[in-house]
Symmetry: C5
Subunit: 83 residues, 5 copies
């Protein structure tokens, strides 16, 4: 899993059915790249989170037919990007 | 999922049966690299989209026996690559 | 899927049973790196092709018990690496 | 599998159910990047370990419904990062 | 699949059950990075091999419950890293 920071929400009206009802978050990885993740834990802007990829990302959702390849699995209690 | 921009179509007459009937799009990632994605949402040239990889890419297609590893899952309403 | 160019064949007498009967091609990605792919479409040296990874690579083969993680899925009609 | 070093524990109260009961370790890869891994072998801070990704990461856990994409699979007896 | 060179063995007494009985090799990729692979073909130090990742890595083993994400699938007859 990777450690990333929540930046905001993604507004996306037109989607495939498999991702239709999930909240989408824009998150930033350690290189500054912006990614899109499904969020079943209710993370807020600025939160440091850890994320899973692959089949784990799908099975971490309440409905495992959610077609995601990146899911927020937890909110980190305390984190500083510089250690 | 990643945020990419649709560049055009890929013309490819000779294919494996598993990808035969799908529209293929050329899309560009945040590093400028050109990739090929299956498009079940009807994205147009210039659209900013988010894409999924892995098994999610296959299951996001109307027919999950589509042998893709990259699928456009939605068209982003508003996006600026510089934030 | 990624766009790559076929460079040649890979001669490899000693293999695991799961990859035994397939043609192996050496292909080059956009960074110049040489990779090994299974080829069910009959690509020739110099052809520009698109390739799939992961489970899609296996299911794109005529026999899905082929243990590949990279498969040529189609030959591109016209391609210039500079666009 | 990759060779990494255990740096510490990750404190993370709010998690998805799929990762609820596992110890989470912060580990560092060969580029200095910090990642989060599930640890079924009981590694300690400073240990050099090897890790698996993907479905192998899930199936390497005592409970294969653990939604991880990175798992410590073994502790290396002797290792020097410079060979 | 990728082309790598076998460097040596990995001594690792404490492992998860899923990887318990397999020979582990240290191999080097084209960037000089050292990785750990399962070896069902009996490669020797110095051999150039091709490797598979993901589910193909598991199914290429005699026992597909081997929890690996990188497996040596064949020994290349002749290879020069400079082509």
């Amino acid at each position: 899993m990777e450690i990333m920071q929540v930046i905001g929400r993604l507004v996306c009206t037109q989607r495939v059915p498999g991702i239709n009802h999930m909240h989408l978050r824009i998150i930033r990885n350690n290189k500054g790249k912006l990614l899109v993740a499904v969020d079943p834990v209710g993370a807020r802007e600025g939160n440091w989170v850890f994320t899973a990829t692959g089949t784990a990302a799908r099975f971490a959702c309440p409905d495992s037919s959610t077609q995601t390849d990146l899911t927020i699995e937890g909110i980190i209690d305390h984190w500083s990007p510089d250690g």
